[in-house]
Amino acid sequence: MKVADIIAARTTEWQALEQDVAWLRGTRSRGLDPDRVAAFARRYRAACSDLALATGMRFPDGTVEYLQQLVADAHTQLYRIESFSIVAWLRSILLDVPRQTIGDPCTWIAAAVFVTLFGGGMMATWVRPGFAAEVVGDAALATFESMYAERPGTGGFTAGRAAMAGFYVFNNAGIGLRCFTGGILFGLGSLVVLAFNGIFLGTVFGHMLASTAGDHFGEFVTAHAPYELTAIVLSAAAGLRLGWSLVDTRGWGRWESLRQTAPAALGTAGLATVLFILAAYIEAFISPSTLPRSAKVAVACVSGLALAGWFAAPLLLVRPEKARAD
């Protein structure tokens, strides 16, 4: 049989497969015509064997290249990943993400670094009077003091709360994501952002709480602090997780180790982003409001408990024998 005959005989099938690929590209996997899907699978296997034949028998280059592309396209459609299911998604959010986050030493290292530097910054402002001015700058301190000179809600903060919410989301969650991604540089990017925030926030807290505006400042930050501070720590923890996978490769190749770790780190980073967004709305609408101080403390308690409950849920909800070994 001549090459030309083989190609001529098969071209109709190949073009039919091309049409199948184009058809599958525009669809989701539910409710497809089963006969056509079966025909597609058959044509794909036929094209595979045609490609093997064409390569083995040295068909002209154009034919081989065409078949390569055709088989690659069909392969992408046949083995496409559409495993999205609500159950798997809920399972991931309610069980996997909290369990991975809690069980990850990076979370606790990030938390320890943050708490230590935050506490250190706070102490330093009390021990050494000029410390806050050295770290934050006189102008910034003066701004902070004037911002909180009045009780939240009595002035200054009433207008444009929605705008502030947008700004907090854009800015804070953006910083959180940058903190996470910086972790790929062996964790250094995350550590720098985490350390900076720890020292800066600690110093500002220390200075403001001791100043005349201390009460107002404390009242303002209470409501959103649980989500915001947790989010900072978790962003850095996710970044550290990513960076550490490049250091301790657990027997994988370095990049393979990164690939294996990335989904878990992404889960933690996603959680941090959600917390940043929640914190942004609380910071924009509740923190500066005229609600009594006790209400803001209650918000803080509820958010702290919700967070703790969500972390504890996998331990309480899943019976030990049902917990998967992975």
Binding site: M1, K2, V3, A4, D5, I7, T11, Q15, R25, Y44, C48, S49, L51, T55, G56, M57, R58, F59, P60, D61, G62, T63, Y66, L67, Q68, Q69, L70, V71, A72, H75, T76, Y79, R80, I81, S83, A159, G160, R161, A162, A163, M164, A165, G166, F167, V169, F170, A173, G174, L177, R178, T181, G182, I184, L185, G189, W255, R259, A262, P263, L266
Partner: protein, 253 residues
């Protein structure tokens, strides 16, 4: 499966990546280089910029209520900036607008289409990849076989060129004089490869050029066989090719 280990000897060690499917068939992707990907990124940045400008313009028209809407604008900007790439790659078969314009596509290293976590991860990590002054992504592309930036390495993805697809034209060989070829003659692999390339492209050549090219091969073949060079060397070369293919097909059976 990512590293197949099967290398096609015919392909030079360049921007081709071979993937082996479960059907045990190897097919190849052509990787996209940094220049094309940079262009795609610039186009995508323009798309985001235009979307943001359009939203700002709408806010300007709304005027009085703008302050509340400014918040929505920033939230939208946050999601567009961080999510545009991932969303379009998931929904449009691995292509953002910029990639589609340049004929690029993101696929998993295994040749499959990418899933949402992969798309999110590689798009988040872009901020690191394009961070001056060292541009880690570009450096990384220079040192990885699949031209991957850090985001690609973490997500296990690669950016490939979608080649334009033309159905192959069957090589038209009319009445190839197979009988002129000595029965014991088998071209070696390199000659066969050259013959395949010639037969595949000969219809694109003028008759004179065909005869000229084929004549060079025919002259050497005929002097080796001790026969006279035929009047139509093009047909002879086609005959040699057909004979060789038939012999291979016979051997395969």
């Amino acid at each position: 499966m990512a590293d197949s280990g099967i290398r096609n000897e015919r392909q030079p060690l360049d921007t081709m990546v071979t993937v082996v499917s479960p059907e045990n068939i190897a097919f190849q992707f052509r990787l996209a280089g940094p220049a094309a990907r940079m262009m795609a990124f610039v186009l995508d940045a323009l798309v985001i910029g235009v979307a943001a400008a359009a939203m700002l313009f709408a806010l300007g028209i709304l005027g009085t209520v703008a302050e509340a809407f400014a918040g929505l604008f920033l939230i939208a900007l946050f999601f567009i900036w961080w999510g545009y790439g991932a969303a379009s790659e998931v929904l449009a078969n691995g292509r953002t607008a910029g990639k589609a314009a340049l004929g690029l596509r993101v696929v998993s290293q295994t040749g499959l289409s990418i899933n949402p976590p992969q798309a999110i991860l590689r798009n988040l990590l872009r901020v690191v990849d394009i961070a001056p002054p060292f541009f880690p992504g570009v450096v990384c592309m220079a040192f990885t076989r699949r031209l991957q930036r850090l985001g690609d390495l973490a997500a296990g993805t690669m950016v490939v060129l979608d080649r334009t697809r033309r159905p192959p034209r069957p090589p038209r060989v009319d009445a190839a004089p197979v009988e002129l070829v000595p029965t014991g003659f088998h071209p070696d692999a390199r000659l066969l490869e050259a013959l395949a390339a010639y037969v595949g492209r000969r219809t694109d050549l003028s008759t004179a050029r065909r005869q000229e090219l084929a004549g060079m091969v025919a002259k050497r073949l005929c002097s080796a066989w001790g026969t006279a060079v035929p009047a139509d060397p093009d047909a002879l070369v086609c005959g040699v090719y057909e004979r060789a293919i038939a012999a291979e097909a016979e051997a395969a059976r």
